[in-house]
């Protein structure tokens, strides 16, 4: 009884935490974002030290909750209802300001506007070519053609049309839209593994929650379709599997690197050979890990790219890999701190911030014998 009571107290604390984190995100409102000017404080630009410390504290507490939820898994104290409650308690993060860490959501909106409002091909016309459009005041990288696949462009039509050109409603509809794919991904992970560890390891990972619910990145949408492809393959529905897989490639092209794994699975199915799913997850992790590690060659190793790997880490369920992945998630979230503090992008400081978190996290987990 005491255990149940303490669980509910922690869950209530977690819910409060997500609300506070969402409120904190509004310190980062862009000064040029005219639609939220009444909420603008400029704290992120005038009080960099305090904001950086608060953010760091939030991340540390977030990982504290994460480890607690994983402990509940290991102590076999979870039921399906409790898992749903835990995952649902992250929903307040959907109400956060989307550009605290990344302006990508505004880019999704800008590209959708180019496509659906101006009826122009976003691969041939940049948002910046609409010189009088107010979105240019706060959209970064408006001088680029659409960076994502045509399937993502098509999908963004849904939140765009439903929002009826109301920018603020659009922000939250985009986040909700991405959130639905998060729910789908978590569901698929459960169907593929039947393991609460897999679900909690992925679903409650602070990097996943922040980059999906707060920043609204589309990587979760891509991973949903990849996992759907694996799910259909497991069901023996090869054509649906192929369609899902190709759909993921046409969101963000990274999953093209999983094509050899898909071909391997298909070959095994066609030859009626038993498919070792543990091997499939390991091969998938290696394949997508390669493109993740090569990402600095293109531009930068952005923290949200780690979402590509986390589902496979969750499905593999090996302690050493999970520990390093959890530590690396935190390290990646800490790479935002140097910019928050200095206002400049300095790669060396980002690496130091990440390494500090990773080393301390692993050290503390070893000392306190914390199981991931």
């Amino acid at each position: 009884m005491n255990n149940v009571k303490s669980i509910y107290i922690i869950l209530a604390a977690y819910a409060l935490f997500t609300i506070l984190f969402s409120v904190f995100s509004y310190c980062f409102i862009d000064p040029n974002l005219i639609y939220l000017k009444k909420l603008y404080t400029g704290l992120a630009f005038t009080n960099r030290v305090e904001v950086s410390l608060f953010y760091t504290s939030f991340i540390v507490v977030f990982f504290g909750f994460y480890l607690y939820f994983l402990t509940l898994v290991h102590k076999k104290m979870l039921t399906i209802k409790l898992v749903i409650v835990i995952v649902s308690l992250s929903l307040p993060l959907l109400l956060s300001y989307p550009a605290m860490l990344s302006y990508d959501l505004f880019n999704y909106q800008a590209t959708a506007k180019v496509t659906y409002h101006y009826a122009e091909n976003p691969y041939l016309v940049m948002p910046i070519e609409f010189t009088n459009d107010p979105m240019l005041l706060f959209t970064r990288a408006a001088n680029k053609y659409a960076l994502y696949g045509p399937f993502w462009i098509a999908l963004t039509g849904v939140p765009y049309m439903v929002s009826m050109a109301n920018f603020i409603i659009q922000i939250f509809l985009f986040k909700l839209f991405v959130g639905l794919f998060y729910a789908g991904t978590v569901f698929l992970l459960y169907k593929l593994s039947r393991s609460f560890f897999t679900v909690i390891f992925f679903a409650m990972n602070p990097l996943v929650l922040i980059e999906t619910f707060m920043s609204g990145h589309n990587d979760i949408v891509m991973m949903f379709f990849v996992l759907l492809g694996y799910y259909f393959m497991k069901q023996g529905k090869n054509i649906l599997s192929a369609v899902s897989f190709v759909s993921s490639i046409f969101i963000k092209f990274s999953t093209l690197f999983l094509l050899p794994v898909w071909i391997y699975m298909y070959y095994k199915k066609v030859k009626n050979q038993k498919l070792d799913w543990d091997r499939v997850w390991v091969l998938s992790l290696i394949s997508i890990g390669i493109i993740f590690l090569l990402s600095p060659l293109r531009e930068e190793m952005y923290p949200w790219y780690f979402i590509w790997l986390l589902p496979f880490v969750a499905l593999i369920r090996r302690k050493s890999i999970s520990l390093w992945a959890a530590a690396f998630s935190g390290g990646l979230l800490m790479t935002y701190v140097p910019y928050m503090y200095t206002g400049y992008y300095i790669t060396l400081y980002k690496i130091i911030a990440a390494l500090l978190f990773i080393i301390i996290f692993i050290f503390l987990c070893k000392v306190f014998k914390q199981t991931i």
Partner: protein
Amino acid sequence: MFVFLSLFLLTFTLVPQVHAASSYVLPYPGVMPGNRLYVFSDFLDKARGVYVFGDIASFKYNLSQSDKYLVEAKILFEYDQYLLAVQSLEKSNSYFIKSYKNVMDAQKHNKNTEALKDKHAQAALKHVETLSGLKMSLPEIFTWEAEKSAPETIRIYELLNRALKIRQQYE
């Protein structure tokens, strides 16, 4: 001194003068007609056209095609391939007119067309410069005598003047 100044001024009347100067840059020539790969290049260009939608994207596509075929025509004229050159010039004219129509459509749809009109005017200036240069080096009329068909008279100046007229209304 007077003789020197007179000679100095005379040089300006003798040297061919270009009456238009534009910073607009025409593309490099690609695969030329007569090359075996030209069919694929042409097909890819047309396929690109299918992928293009929207006033601004269509404007960019049509203008780029007009530029491409103008460069093609220029090179073909220089290599005395007048029959092929004339075909390329006609295509260039057609795309140029379409590109202006795209600007008008964009205006009708309340899009900001200042940059488009400026680009179109710059392109017109460049095309006029190129066509005027060609006019100075080409014969007025040429009779194309193909091996197995009847000779064909190509009124080069007439075609160039028509092409110039199309551009000059947008300068």
